[in-house]
């Protein structure tokens, strides 16, 4: 078992000093997670969950630690603005909270929003459960290193029955520093009973770099809570971004996720959702669009654990050049989750002969009277449609872009924030080849 620890990535991450909090439970959890990471190293492609995402190249790299950097890299505040998003804002640069870029005055009633570093100095007890977790699976390497080293992140709570209408914006900026850094962010988000929240989670780059970022988020929806969650991932094209989100839904809670995965060199997102309350509902919509040599891997694991729970997932992948997309949609309808309804669709488009998309829908049903549908396709642009557009005078490159955008658009259609939706469409189109 000592061999994995010798990887440059593993040893460089372990070189960073373990943060000390002065709280025994937290320091113990950090130490134990660090030990688990040191012992387990990185998963290889024999581990099912990492079958299509090889970490060989990443494993050979070394990263600096945020404390090694003397000065915080400059980030231009106006670049953080998103059309249609005008609520409070929490900004992290290389994983460190930045008060000057954040907008935290005039928080609406019922909203608690602060950086984790602050919350731990104040009242850490509510965070104890989330932060003292152990990750036991061999594929959990990045969750372990995150649990060991993350000192900052988002703590967001919406009080019962509070309705937070203006979208709360969480921005994670990877900014070029003297050396490529590894940074870790831990988010804890909770919506009380009947609470409503509109949330935008944004990843962006300030300058070119090839950093490694890990993010772990827990999102809990109380009974009847509603969450509109938009993820706009436009990280630096050379960076590695490993995220894990765990969503738990109590009875009648309803979460909707719209994700746009555009940036990053090696991107992995594990979205694990547990529908634990009766009649809870999760809708996920997403587009991943790797180009160049990007690798974007999305893993959904949705578990129906209560009566009449509903999940619908609609994801589109578009790969160009030599890029690789990976999608796994695993749905489990557990015993007793009778009357549940689970649907999943993943359609993919290959724009170049060297591009590749691996998709794997999985459905396990252990309950009765379940409605389930799942399907995945991988194809190319329709030659007849292309010719039709060209025969009307639209140049080939534009025709391809038009058809590709149309292929993706259906996924964004039900995003209620129209201004933001238009902006996301425009970003998508800007990412298309030759436009």
């Amino acid at each position: 078992m000592s061999q994995p620890a010798t990887l440059p990535l593993v040893s460089s991450l372990l070189d960073a000093p373990l943060p000390s909090s002065g709280m025994t439970w937290l320091d113990t959890a950090r130490r134990e997670n660090r030990e688990a990471f040191a012992a387990g190293g990185l998963p290889d492609t024999r581990v099912e969950a990492w079958k299509y995402t090889a970490l060989r190249a990443l494993g050979q790299r070394r990263f600096g630690h945020v404390d090694d950097v003397a000065q915080r890299p400059a980030v231009d505040a106006p670049t953080l603005a998103l059309p249609g998003v005008d609520g409070p804002r929490l900004v992290f640069v290389n994983g460190v909270f930045c008060a000057d870029l954040s907008v935290l005055d005039r928080l609406p009633e019922g909203l608690t929003l602060q950086p984790l570093s602050q919350a731990l100095r104040g009242d850490p007890e509510p965070l104890r459960f989330a932060l003292s977790r152990h990750y036991r699976e061999v594929g959990d390497a990045f969750a372990r290193i995150n649990a060991a080293y993350a000192t900052d992140g988002v703590v967001l709570r919406v009080a019962a029955h509070a309705k937070i209408v203006a979208p709360v914006q969480l921005v994670f900026v990877g900014a070029a520093a003297e050396t490529d850094l590894a940074w870790h962010v831990r988010n804890v988000i909770a919506l009380g009973e009947g609470a409503e929240l509109s949330l935008v989670e944004q990843y962006m780059a300030a300058g070119e770099q090839a950093q490694l970022a890990t993010l772990v988020s827990d999102i809990e929806l109380g009974e009847g809570a509603r969450l509109q969650h938009v993820v706009l991932q436009n990280a630096a094209i050379g960076s590695s971004l490993i995220r894990r989100s765990s969503v738990r839904l109590q009875a009648r809670a309803h979460a909707t996720v719209h994700a746009l995965e555009l940036g990053g060199a090696l991107v992995r997102h594990d979205l694990q959702a547990d529908l634990v309350g009766d009649a809870s509902r999760l809708d996920t919509r997403g587009i991943f669009m790797p180009h160049g040599r990007q690798h974007i891997d999305t893993q959904l694991a949705i578990r129906h654990q209560a009566l009449h729970t509903v999940s619908s997932s609609n994801w589109r992948g578009v790969a160009n050049d030599r890029a690789r997309g990976v999608f796994r949609g695993a749905i489990v309808v557990a015993p007793g989750a009778d009357g549940s309804d689970a649907s999943l669709s993943n359609k993919n488009l290959l724009l170049s002969p060297a591009a590749e998309i691996d998709t794997k829908p999985e459905l396990e049903i252990h309950a009765d009277e379940v409605k389930a549908a799942h399907g995945a396709t991988v194809g190319q642009l329709d030659e007849r449609s292309l010719f039709y557009l060209r025969s009307r005078g639209i140049p080939q490159a534009d025709a391809r872009a038009l058809l590709t955008a149309a292929f993706c658009r259906a996924v964004l259609d039900d995003l209620p924030n129209e201004v933001l939706r238009d902006h996301l469409s425009a970003m998508l189109i800007a990412q298309l080849p030759n436009t």
Partner: protein, 254 residues
Amino acid sequence: MLKIENLHARVEGKEILKGLSLTVNAGEVHAIMGPNGAGKSTLGHVLSGREGYEVTAGSVSYHGNDLLALEPEARAAAGVFLAFQYPVEIPGVNNTYFLRAALNAQRKRRGEKELDSMQFLKLVREKIKVMQISDELLHRAVNTGFSGGEKKRNEIFQMAVLEPQLAILDETDSGLDIDALKQVAQGVNLLRSPQRAFLMITHYQRLLDYVVPDFVHVLADGRIVESGDKSLALKLEEHGYSGIGASQPTGAAA
């Protein structure tokens, strides 16, 4: 305007056009008739530049230039328009957006000023009135969920907006009931002009009752085997395709 000489073309290795020659001048309406499999649609696709149609011999000159050397989009900008036999449904692309993109792409290539959305809307309103197309079709995705008649009318509407010089109508009459046929024919007639030529590919004579051609050609086994005026169409109606061309020395093979 258009001069096709000894055109040979293959699709999937099979020779479909076997020495087709045809001259079309501005202002003329030519009907190309013929039995199934004679190569009518192949002719339309070769002229508009569809991939997979391999020209093995012969030439097509359009305004004195080699049409076959041009990409489909360049042919469109040069004024060639193909009304599809089976217009393609394109979900997610708005009909109006598509048409404006097409018109502006053509204008840009020709070195003309592109239309802004106000100018374009004005043009569309004029044409929509003339073509009797419902406003609602403009807001839908291209051909998506359109009835057969709506699709064909949409083709003619696009033609009205794009104002081509050479319009090739590939079995635009097929699958239409008599009312829809009349509407389509009326649209075509309104677009007839001394500067514009039409090549109407059709299997049946009935379209020619409403759009009266200057010339009728019979295409059989990859060649024009007989040409005449509109009376030829009536003769075909009466006797079918079987007797046509047999009396000619250059007659088609069985």
